[in-house]
Structures are given as C-alpha cells and as structure tokens.
C-alpha cells in the first residue's frame, strides 16, 4: 500500500515485541507476583525487629542482609516458573504459534519476546529489591558489582530456561501451571525463602549449593559482600542453564 500518511512500517521483530509488551502489561496478576511480591516479602521480613539487628551467630551480619539476594532470586523464580510457562503453553494450545508460523515471521519471535519480557521484569524487580534494601533497611549495595551482575544474569537465564523446559514438557497449560507450582516450592526453599542458606545445616547447605537457585543466591551473596562469586556456584548455575535450555529446545513442540 502506498499511502503518504502511512507511518514508517515497523519491522516484524519490533512489532512482535511491542505487541507482546502491551499484552504483558495487561496482566496485573503476573506483574504483582514478579515485581511486587519479592519487595513486599523483603519489607515484611524487614519489619521483624530481630532481623534488623546484627546477629553474633552469623558473624555479626543481619538476617535482612541474607534476604536481599533471596528476594532477588525470588523475582526470577516468579517470572520464570510461575508467570511464563502458562503463557507459552497457552500460546501453543490456542494455536497462536501456529498462526504466526504461516506468516513470513517465525514463531520463535513470539517466544523470544516473552522470555525477554519476563527476564526484564525480573531484573526490574531485582533492582527494586536492592534499592529498597539500601534505602529502607540500609543494606549495602553489592560490593563486587561486576560479579553481582554476572550472578544476576545467570540466575535469570536459569529461571527462564527452567520455565522454557516446563513449557516444553507440559502438554497443556493446566499441566504447565501444575508443574510450575510443584517446582516452585523447592525452588523457593533452595533460594532460602524459609531459611537462609547460611542458617541451614552443613549437609543441607551443600545439597542446596548444587541446585540452580541455591547456587545463584550464594553467588549473589558473595558478590554483595564484596568478593568475586566462587566459580563453583557460577559453574553450577551455568550448567543448569545449559542443560535446561538444551532440554527445552529438544522437547519443545510448536503445536
């Protein structure tokens, strides 16, 4: 069509991203759980006076300081495990991916946009947690920013890969939601939501170190304290991310 008034045509990738962003912003429930809930949890825990006092049992650190990395990883778990799998399986179930695949645009563009949006939302949530931790509870900003960013990105990739894996193996949206919820609780536990990893018995803490979110939380904790995160934690998170991504690609069905 040649119309003088027509605006410059959007590129397909950008049009998909713009549409998916609008749709993402129309899901207040998902937005609350990803962006609102982690910071709310931090605020509630911070309201407990004992958590704000230096604890001699933990080398003088305050409990609230352990909870900042936990709340950061919780944002990723919410985005990757709770919010994203039902969206992707729903798109498959409703034939939205098939519909896109009979246009010159590949349906991968839709999946990429959804993963990117959930990743960005969890990053926004992480920043909010860090800022609130700093301003409200006086938790120092990460002492090793580069290591912190690396650990943060690995955690996001892990969560998205796990979510993609769940979407790949779940035949229906209902099953995806069910698997997401089943994986959600152990993930929260390994991220230290109920008990900070530092307060776990040694054996349990060692086991948790081999889980994707247990490793990510500890890497974040080390970087927050000013040290470069240990390669074993980063390696565990990276390995999980790689394995889950491969599994997701291997088993994903477009219809």
């Amino acid at each position: 069509m040649t119309s003088a008034a027509a605006p410059a045509k959007a590129s397909p990738g950008r049009a998909v991203l713009r549409t998916e962003t609008r749709l993402f912003l129309r899901e207040p429930g998902s937005l609350f759980w990803i962006i609102g809930f982690p910071v709310l949890l931090l605020a509630i825990l911070g309201a407990i006076p004992g958590f704000r006092e230096p604890d001699p049992a933990n080398g003088g650190q305050r409990i609230i300081e352990f909870y900042v990395p936990t709340a950061v990883v919780l944002a990723m778990i919410m985005a990757g495990l709770q919010a994203m799998p039902p969206v992707i399986t729903g798109y498959r179930e409703r034939g939205i991916l098939r519909r896109m695949s009979v246009t010159p645009v590949r349906p991968q563009a839709v999946l990429g946009a959804q993963m990117g949006l959930h990743g960005v939302a969890s990053l926004v949530s992480a920043l909010l947690v860090i800022v609130v931790g700093r301003l409200v509870f006086d938790v120092a900003l990460p002492g090793q920013p580069a290591g912190y960013v690396l650990a943060l990105l690995l955690a996001i990739v892990c969560a998205l890969a796990l979510g993609a894996f769940i979407s790949a193996v779940a035949p229906t949206t209902k099953i995806a939601t069910a698997i997401g919820s089943i994986v959600f609780f152990p993930s929260m536990f390994t991220a230290g939501v109920w008990l900070p990893i530092q307060a776990m018995p040694d054996l349990l803490a060692d086991i948790v170190s081999f889980t994707p979110f247990g490793a990510a939380v500890q890497a974040l904790d080390q970087a927050a304290a000013g040290d470069w995160p240990s390669w074993s934690h980063l390696g565990v998170a990276a390995l999980w991310a790689a394995l889950l991504s491969l599994g997701a690609v291997r088993w994903f069905r477009w219809e």
């Binding site: 069509m1 959007a10 590129s11 519909r99 009979v102 010159p104």
Partner: protein
C-alpha cells in the same frame, strides 16, 4: 500455470495413513473446495499446502514454490485461516491487524481491510470479547493482510449461526472477485455448492471425485429425483425394472424414484402405457448432499 499443485501427497501419523496419495491442481482465481467427512484428511492436506506439515511422499507447489523448503516465499503469497486457532485473549482487533501487517513486506492497508470486513466498530475490542462471527471476520482479515495470491480457509463457518454464515459466504465471493484464489475446506454441502467453482471430494485420505458442483451431482447414481402420486397403483415390478433406477420408495400412495434422465423417460412411457395419471409430479435434480453420500459411500 496452476497456482496450487498437489501431487501424490501421502501423510501418516504413527503408522495410521491420513492422506493416501492426494492429487489436485487449483487454477488462479477460482474457489476450490475440499469437501469430505470429518477425519477424511482435509485439514492435513491443506496443512501440507500451508507448509505446516511435511508430506511423507509426493510434492506440493504453491505459485511454483515448495511450502516447506521455500517457507519464506510461500508465506508471502499464501494467507491462511487455521482451523480452531485463536489469538492472544487480550489483543485488540487493531493491534492484531497491525501486528500481522508488520509481518509482511507489502501488506494491505489494515484500516481499509477492517472497513471492508465490518470490523471498524470493533478495533479497540479485545479478541476474547468478540463474537464467533467477528472472530472469523478478523481471521479472514488476517489471512488477507499480506496481499496474498491464495487464501486457505479451513472450516471457516463452523460454529457460526446461519446468518453469519451467509454473510461470510458473501465475503468469500468478494475475495475471489478481487482476484485472490481461495482454497476452501468444508464439510457443509450447501457451502461448497454455493461457493465453489470446483470441488475435490476427499474420503479416507483419497480424492473420491473432482468436478464442478453440478458435475458431481449429475455423476451421482441418484442424480434425478422424481416424486408423484399415481391415480392407480403401479405394479412394483414395473417400477423396479426402470432403467438406471438408483432407489425406489412408496409411502402412503406417493412414489419417490431416483435415477437419471433415462429413468424419467422410461417412467413417463410407463405412465402413458398404463394410462396412469401422475398427480403432483415433481422432477428435481439431486443436491450435492445426495451426490456426496453416494460418492463417500456414507448412505444410511
């Protein structure tokens, strides 16, 4: 050159053959129907044309291109409405039109398309809030938005009320009149008879017949239906002996015969010979329904 060429296509799922050697060609500018009972392999056949499925054997060409190997080329000339496909529940009509317009290198003007399909009032309505007819009109718009040369419409009017169905038929004729070739999958006889220039009747994965609607009807064994009330009973043996008789039924003094023109000629001769008057004599052509049941062997 035909715009769609399907030759010897086979497709099996887990050992069960769904499409068993289907061939047909569609000429540019026609409405070509694929008609068949549920599970006959209609959708699988058009999915091979759309490039959504890889045939196990045989070839498919759309505008001379292979839908699987030249996916990009085929998606540019072919628009599709898929059976039982939906959109994101919260996407608005305008957003969907703009999104799909952006998918094509040379799209149609989405505003004009919305106007033509009566969607202008619904531009800011979310997909989930549209009625069945509005959803189908949106899917026709999306199938046309890339300025395609061919559109594939799969069970477009299933689930629509009779009024919405008739409106949709008028739209399909408009689409064809604008020069776009239409490949129409349906299991409604009335729809196929009204719209299609040619029809491939598919049964159990094979082409059972391929002809114009009138050709299919005249080909069927019981193409001409004759009903009358004789002034005096005719001997059953004489009726049964009529040439090319397909069926014969007598109820409450009314006689219904199906057969060909030859059957009718012989009947008239029989009536004259026996001096019988045929009251309320009606001679009508069978409908596509009768032809279909005859061709697919589904007669009760």
């Amino acid at each position: 050159m035909p715009i769609i060429e399907v030759s010897g296509v086979r497709k099996a799922y887990g050992g069960r053959t769904v499409v068993d050697g289907i061939s047909f060609t569609v000429e540019e500018g026609e409405i070509f129907g694929i008609l068949g009972p549920n599970g006959a392999g209609k959708t699988t056949t058009v999915e091979c044309v759309e490039g959504l499925r890889h045939p196990d054997a045989g070839t498919v060409k759309v505008a001379g291109l292979d839908p699987v190997r030249d996916r990009d080329g085929v998606t540019r000339v072919l628009g599709a409405q898929l059976q039982e496909s939906e959109l994101q529940p919260k996407i608005t009509v305008q957003e969907a039109l703009q999104l799909y317009a952006a998918c094509y290198p040379d799209p149609a003007d989405w505003r004009a398309l919305a106007e033509r399909l009566g969607l202008t009032e619904k531009l800011s309505t979310r997909f989930a809030k549209l009625s069945g007819g509005q959803k189908q009109r949106l899917f026709i718009a999306l199938a046309l938005i890339g300025n395609p040369r061919v559109v594939v419409l799969d069970e477009l009017t299933t689930g629509l009320d009779p009024r919405a169905r008739r409106e949709t038929w008028a739209l399909i004729e408009e689409v064809r009149d604008s020069g776009v070739t239409v490949l129409l999958v349906t299991h409604f006889m009335e729809e196929a008879q009204r719209l299609c220039d040619r029809i491939a009747v598919i049964d159990k994965g094979r082409v059972a017949a391929l002809d114009t609607p009138a050709g299919l009807v005249s080909r069927a064994a019981g193409a001409v239906v004759t009903t009358f009330t004789p002034s005096a009973p005719l001997p059953a043996a004489d009726l049964a002996a009529l040439p090319r008789l397909a069926s014969h039924e007598e109820r409450d003094g009314n006689v219904t015969l199906t057969g060909t023109d030859e059957t009718v000629t012989a009947l008239l001769a029989l009536l004259a010979r026996t001096g019988t008057t045929a009251h309320r004599l009606r001679i009508v052509e069978a409908t596509l329904d009768d032809a279909f049941l005859d061709l697919t062997g589904e007669a009760a």
